[in-house]
Symmetry: C2
Subunit: 598 residues, 2 copies
Amino acid sequence: MGQGDDGRRIYPEPPRRRSGDGERFDGWGFADSGFRILADGAVELSGNRYDLAGTKLPDLLPWVSRTIGVPLDPRDVNPSQYPPAIPAPRENAEFVAALRKFLADDAICCDAESRLRHGHGHTQQEIYAIKHGQLARVPDLVVHPNSVEQIEALVAAALRHGACLIPYGGGSNVTQALLCRSDEQRIIASVDLSRMNRIRWIDPENRMACIEAGAVGREIVASLAQHGFTMGHEPDSIEFSTLGGWIATHASGMKKNRYGNIEDLVLDVSAVTAAGVLARSGVSPRESIGVDLRRCLYGSEGNLGIITHATVKLFPLPEVQRYQSVVFRSFEDGFAFLYELERQATPPASVRLTDNLQFQFSRALKAAPVGLGRLKSRLEKLYVTRIRGLDPDEMVACTLLFEGSRAEVEAQESALFRIARKHGGLEAGAENGKRGYQLTFAIAYIRDFMMDHFLLGESFETSVAWSDALALCENVKRRIRAEHAARGLPGVPFISCRITQLYDTGVCIYFYFAYYYKGVDRPSEVFAEMEHAARDEVLRSGGSLSHHHGIGKLREGFLPEIMSGPLLEWGRQIKQAVDPQNVFGSANHGMGAGGPLR
Amino acid sequence: MGQGDDGRRIYPEPPRRRSGDGERFDGWGFADSGFRILADGAVELSGNRYDLAGTKLPDLLPWVSRTIGVPLDPRDVNPSQYPPAIPAPRENAEFVAALRKFLADDAICCDAESRLRHGHGHTQQEIYAIKHGQLARVPDLVVHPNSVEQIEALVAAALRHGACLIPYGGGSNVTQALLCRSDEQRIIASVDLSRMNRIRWIDPENRMACIEAGAVGREIVASLAQHGFTMGHEPDSIEFSTLGGWIATHASGMKKNRYGNIEDLVLDVSAVTAAGVLARSGVSPRESIGVDLRRCLYGSEGNLGIITHATVKLFPLPEVQRYQSVVFRSFEDGFAFLYELERQATPPASVRLTDNLQFQFSRALKAAPVGLGRLKSRLEKLYVTRIRGLDPDEMVACTLLFEGSRAEVEAQESALFRIARKHGGLEAGAENGKRGYQLTFAIAYIRDFMMDHFLLGESFETSVAWSDALALCENVKRRIRAEHAARGLPGVPFISCRITQLYDTGVCIYFYFAYYYKGVDRPSEVFAEMEHAARDEVLRSGGSLSHHHGIGKLREGFLPEIMSGPLLEWGRQIKQAVDPQNVFGSANHGMGAGGPLR
């Protein structure tokens, strides 16, 4: 299939990666972007990629210091020791010789930096380990197939020569899904899908596109937009994560109210497994064809095969995209607003409700206003706090993103503001709404920056029924504080949450947790203990084990608490049946850890 | 859990089956309803259950005669020979003795009528066989467990004593899913779920209900309505089919535009399998917890276990429910309207577009108008045909069902009529819309009635991309006519279709096919050959193997055409892994036919 248009399908050009889009190896994000402290103690995001970049943030460190009860000295740094030592690669000469028969030389990488990068995702434990410790095991080589046929040959070679394969998309997971088990005795090949990043075709009449699994979110967005379409799937990791990763993680996008989650968007998916290629002869709008075992690929996290491409639904680019925001007197008021919004109206593409701490955090990430802006800012603050009586230490913000036709957006907006006013909501403008969403992309950089200043931080999330949501938020915060206090750790923990998704039956809640670790022994392990306790509290409070991050190795220990024994046993039996050699040895969900299945 | 309300959950009373709701054994439906010919040659539906009942239909037989090109003589009948002989039951004394330890005497049935009824669904082949032939194999006994624990004991007994279990819901499938393989050597127990028909609880705040698998659609509707809710799931079989059957068949409801299909409605599902109870500790709005193998239960058609209960989403009863209809000059015009409706507006809960033959059929199912009604009917016809120029032999009807708040319905209705007018649509009133939907429930009775008058008929369906839909309709009709002609069969075949569901990427198409079989050797086999050819044409034309009916044994032979070898192999491997004794030996999809797996 060439490029162009045959009247029925469009064949887009392959994405051209922009020079300057290099990613950093020692943490999250693009190499050109990162927070740093200026001479005057203000913080600044480098580069010019994000709206926030280049803005002096004088309040950030003082606000964080006050919040965690520990004065942060800008000069007091725990410098990154990246790169760590990495273990020597295991050899399997027959396997590598077999690969060389169908892979070009530049498609087989054995350099340390690449091996290291393919051996971790972005949990705090992994980032802390590459900066201040090491990984016990990383892939022994990285391969870059460029076709389904090459992946088939790769799997055949792995089966023949006893290798272990771990698929790699964007490397942005936060579940330790890429972390290699230290007891894996076989050679581990990380299968990097980045050369399978094409949009194979767009079918404008039926609004579908067939996209290769290695296509990166931001490039999918750009390519489809050139033809007037969007997938509408925008996870917070969209800059780096891939279509294959979204399916393997069972991902959710922030605009799911309008477009759906990944399972709603994917119409057809193909994978190479130990048994061969799982594929179908066509794509249907919806069907009933017995047990469609390709459903096992959702959430498979590398355990069952390598997803190679998928056909997804498309939507026309919205006529209107509009940000908005509303502030409420309290989290409870905002939550009551959300419930009524979901029950009585059509919620906009995205709705998020932050708690007060996150509202304050967002303000601390603002430039100091100058000139007329300072006056305006003061007057606004005065109006909200003095005249309307909102307490800066209680109030919360709801950020909104509307997409659709002009008429749809106007109808949604007016219904929403009517409900918001019933709950004491005050309109807080488009700019604050937009800032809220854009901070999402900066926050992962802050995590890495803060780590250098003795703060370990991480997000975690859950989904829960409406009736249990407020209690869950409180229980988790209380538990974190109690765990922190019980360990006699310095200062107070940072624990904050926001509601990020609305469903008919409940919500998704997203937490940020951080603590000051200077002087703490084994700080990353201590963090993990407290995070584990928080997850325990989530489950006790009726929350799910994960809404969209997934399980990986980080949460596999909790599976017996949420699944009956026979359901777990089905997992083992099915893995054993379809991958008896455990060639897909990512060992997530506790599946087939440590070599061929017994 | 008692009946009542604990403040958070409502515990509805068990459904009370209305006396008079007895079902017939010799065909579709309630015992009190059926078509018959009156002395004057008019046809009438008996009973008073349906709006159509008691109405004299003078045009039906004459219209059918003209359509199939064969004069139907009301006195020329092929009388049903029901009940057929049924094979002697196989014995397994140890198994039955084990059952008697935990099942009451009245929970184990061995009578011939019950065994026969549990051994078939409603394909024409099965109904023809019970009326004019016989079934080679039926269940040897029927058991009626009333709890998950009894089903667990049942499965344990079957495993221990080598029995085969086939779950039974409403017996309304049209895929031969209940047909027993004649080479099954073990004792077959049909597991009738009718005593597990309770709504366990309703959670009004989170809009969820936990419902047992044997609950029948019409009773779910009635019970939920008492508490102000609906599931919104309304397959055409809703009078008889069950929640468990909907999941096992991967069903679709006619109002899916508003409420979704079964996979959108079920939040949690439990089943007893050979490995034990598949269950989860809680219900989440949405989650990412690795491979959720319970997804294998959708479309499982009895192959993997017995679905016992599920938690489903609820919706408040709509403020407004409004039928409407529009007529178009041609099927193509109506189809263009549907496409624009899906692209530009929010379609109502249900939209159906019939072709001209089905439009005529619907008119033939009307009473002869009398008095003023006759004048009105004539004037309407005159207006439509003479003044607006629609050709009665070309025009088609679109029936509509709106549900929602008054404002939603009004907005949907005005947008829809605006688009309809662009495509030459004429509003044809609420009454015609309502009639269209109600005929759905009568049409299955017509199939049985016509069989007695030498017409064999059946429906089949598919889903297909928008761009391929019109050609598919034409191709299938042409193929049926060619197959019919090639066999030198009497008259012409009846072949008609309607679009019954709209999706972003395509539609569901529902066909009716019938032919006159007097004097034809092996008429049911001949029908099956032609239906098989039609399915072949569906697949060639880009359609799916089934949109919502499923596979069963009727279409299993086509699976290799739509699934890659490894995908089929996964099915075999997984069945072997989780049910190595093939205790769930319904043998659908060609899985584990004929006894323990080899």
